[in-house]
């Protein structure tokens, strides 16, 4: 947990956002979850404590948080849905189990060299990358063997 809720609220204010109960609730749901949650899941969580908060508001809040780099997105292979997550410590990537959805974060991707080379070769100004490994977690490996 890098930022406290207070700190995040401050950042939001600086951007001209108002701090509403809904935003507090959404923020809290994301901050206090260890998992990577889809918008719908965040909404569900928020509604347990604050019924009536609209899914639309969740989407709008996620957009702002994402824009400010306070949360990041996850892309799983085939079905291409994006999930929002709390950042463990800035820039990081995922190891996703295709069977059960378990996600493990890792931070050291070390793509700087490759990035520099590609940038040079293509004249692209690169400002980010998406890196995710897909496979089977320990448990799902076992199950496959047993079958």
């Amino acid at each position: 947990m890098i930022y406290t809720e207070k700190k995040i609220e401050k950042i939001l204010r600086q951007r001209g956002c108002k701090i509403t109960p809904q935003r507090r609730a959404i923020l809290s749901a994301i901050i206090h979850s260890r998992e990577h949650l889809a918008p719908a899941a965040i909404h569900k969580k928020v509604c347990q404590e604050h019924p009536g908060v609209g899914l639309v508001t969740v989407y709008r809040t996620l957009e702002i948080l994402s824009e400010l780099g306070l949360i990041c997105e996850m892309h799983a292979g085939g079905n291409c849905r994006s999930y929002m997550m709390r950042r463990p410590s800035g820039h990081h990537h995922h190891l996703i189990c295709s069977d059960c959805g378990t996600v493990i974060d890792f931070t050291d991707c070390d793509l700087g060299e490759l990035e520099r080379r590609l940038s040079k070769e293509t004249s692209f100004k690169i400002n980010g990358h998406l890196l995710e490994f897909l496979g089977q977690c320990r448990n799902c490996c076992k199950e496959t063997v047993i079958r």
Copy 2:
């Protein structure tokens, strides 16, 4: 172009698929395109020569081709839509311009070392990865400067 249409048809037959005019048309559209096409774009292309082919059939065919590893998917950052593409020579990745959508392929990602380490540390059986760089292509860089 690694596989000829004939070769691909053979692979499809081996899997128990029938070779229909629709599938031939879809395959041809993908094979003869240098670009990464979304399902809708493939459908459009196919319909120029073969009006009446359903978008549903495009989706169904893409699913099979993807399953067989004959085509692969592309994921752009935020809006998370998946695009299908012809593979230039097997495993490869993308450099995507966030402004105009231009895509450049590259093949040497060199993630083996990282993959091995992660696998060891997490006991995951890793069977693939997703790697995409996002940025601005040469043209879009210029435009930004001019403004």
